[in-house]
Amino acid sequence: MSFSVVTFKLLDGFTISCTIFFITLVLALPLGLLVAFCSMSRFTPLRWLTKTLVWIIRGTPLMLQIIIVFYGPGLIWEGDSLPRLTAALVAFVINYAAYFSEIFRGGIESISRGQYEAGQVLGMTKSQIFFKIILLQVVKRIVPPMSNEIITLVKDTSLSNVIAVREIIMEAQAFISTYALIWPLFYSGVFYLVFCGILTLLFRYLENKLSYFKV
């Protein structure tokens, strides 16, 4: 089995991994912000409902959640199950939105009340205060925990193989079962390493960009 054949096969799988990564990121970030606002709502029932859901999602394994999203509909309503990739995406987006929401909440709550009040006293509207004053400070605070979480997401995409989504680990395992080749599995690690390396550089760049002020 030639190196290039393995590489192309693994690249196929890695494309799926990246698809899960990017779609999860694009959907879970805004959803997480929304969830964060709900968990800080002044309306108590909404706050408790949100906190309970976040607790359940963060308190159970992502792998279990993927299995439930994929097999659940069939078992419970005898309905059609979702396509594999879609099911994985639904689980990832929900799971990561919960984690992101906690990071957003921590970031937003860490900004002192004085910042809001300074804006209020200067006649700013609520949205001006949020977008012109609070947001960038929150972004600066959450870049380090976010980069951790996002790098974890890269590696978590491999959990989708529990429902046979053909991501890179799945493809690598196929070489074991079909050709008794173990090295493609180790080789697959390189893809993760490179990708995480690029992300690390990106986040370091972002941190540097935001280092002109202190919060």
């Binding site: 004085g114 009040e117 209020q120 006649g123 700013m124 001006q128 002109y212 202190k214």
Partner: protein, 261 residues
């Protein structure tokens, strides 16, 4: 004529009554200082003036307009309150500068945002923004920071930060500028530069309400001084009366304690 009047202001937090019927009035171009022991409600009073707290009852009148009347819900709408705040400026004890903006931008930001409501803004955007920037530079020069326009707050000393905060509050031309212990978060050697700026504003007939623990300064800068204790005004009058020859027993005790420390 009084530019500011407060009538019978009450404010409680839960079951703690903090303000128990405050009456005060201040003439245009004059300086009021408020003194009193910790927990007497001075900060709460300033926060009520700036609508950061809503009084439970009472009236606030500025230049003859009733800005706030606890009995009239029409004076308490959120959108109205935002405009009414512009009658007041507030300088916080802890500065509260916006860390991501330079000194100059801290001063100009609010005015730039307000400008967007102006119908002329679209047409004369460039000129208007340039004017705001010029005004901001002039204000920073006025507080002695003409050479620090592009510094970020964390690059400035506490005294410098507080002077930026004063310039920021002045940028919107408030009728009444309020200070809540503007020097108590500062090292002793930095209080002087801030007090000097406030002093110079007083000389320019800026109407101000200043809460302070600096007795000598309170005496020096004030046209009228109020002594507050436990949520009520105990005594008020010109400094030579309230500080030098107080009538009330509680004022005497407070000043006595002050001299001893």
């Amino acid at each position: 004529m009084a530019i500011l009047e407060m009538h019978n202001i009450y404010k409680s937090f839960g079951s703690t009554e903090v303000l128990k019927g405050i009456d005060l009035s201040l003439n245009k171009g004059e300086v009021m200082t408020i003194i009193g022991s910790s927990g007497s409600g001075k900060t709460t009073l300033l926060r009520c003036l700036n609508f950061l707290e809503i009084p439970d009852s009472g009236k606030i009148i500025v230049g003859g307009d009733v800005l706030f009347d606890a009995d009239d819900p029409n004076t308490q709408r959120e959108s109205e309150i935002r405009k009414k705040r512009l009658h007041f400026g507030l300088v916080f004890q802890s500065f509260n500068l916006f860390p991501q903006y330079t000194a100059l931008k801290n001063v100009t930001l609010a005015k730039e945002l307000l400008m967007r409501d102006n119908p002329e803004f679209k047409k004369h955007k460039k000129a208007m923004l340039a004017q705001i920037t010029e005004d901001g530079k002039a204000l920073l020069k006025q507080v002695g920071l003409g050479d620090k326009l592009d510094f970020y707050p964390h690059q400035l000393s506490g005294g410098q930060q507080q002077r930026v905060a004063i310039a920021r509050a002045l940028a919107l031309n408030p009728d009444i500028l309020c200070f809540d212990e503007p020097t108590s978060a500062l090292d002793p050697e930095l209080t002087g530069e801030v007090l000097k700026v406030i002093r110079s504003l007083a000389d320019k007939k800026t109407t101000m309400v200043i809460v302070t623990h600096e007795m000598a300064f309170a005496h020096d800068v004030a046209d009228v001084i109020y002594f507050m204790d436990n949520g009520v005004i105990i005594e008020s009058g010109p400094p030579c009366q309230v500080i030098d020859s107080p009538k009330e027993e509680r004022t005497k005790q407070f000043l006595q304690r002050y001299r001893n420390t």
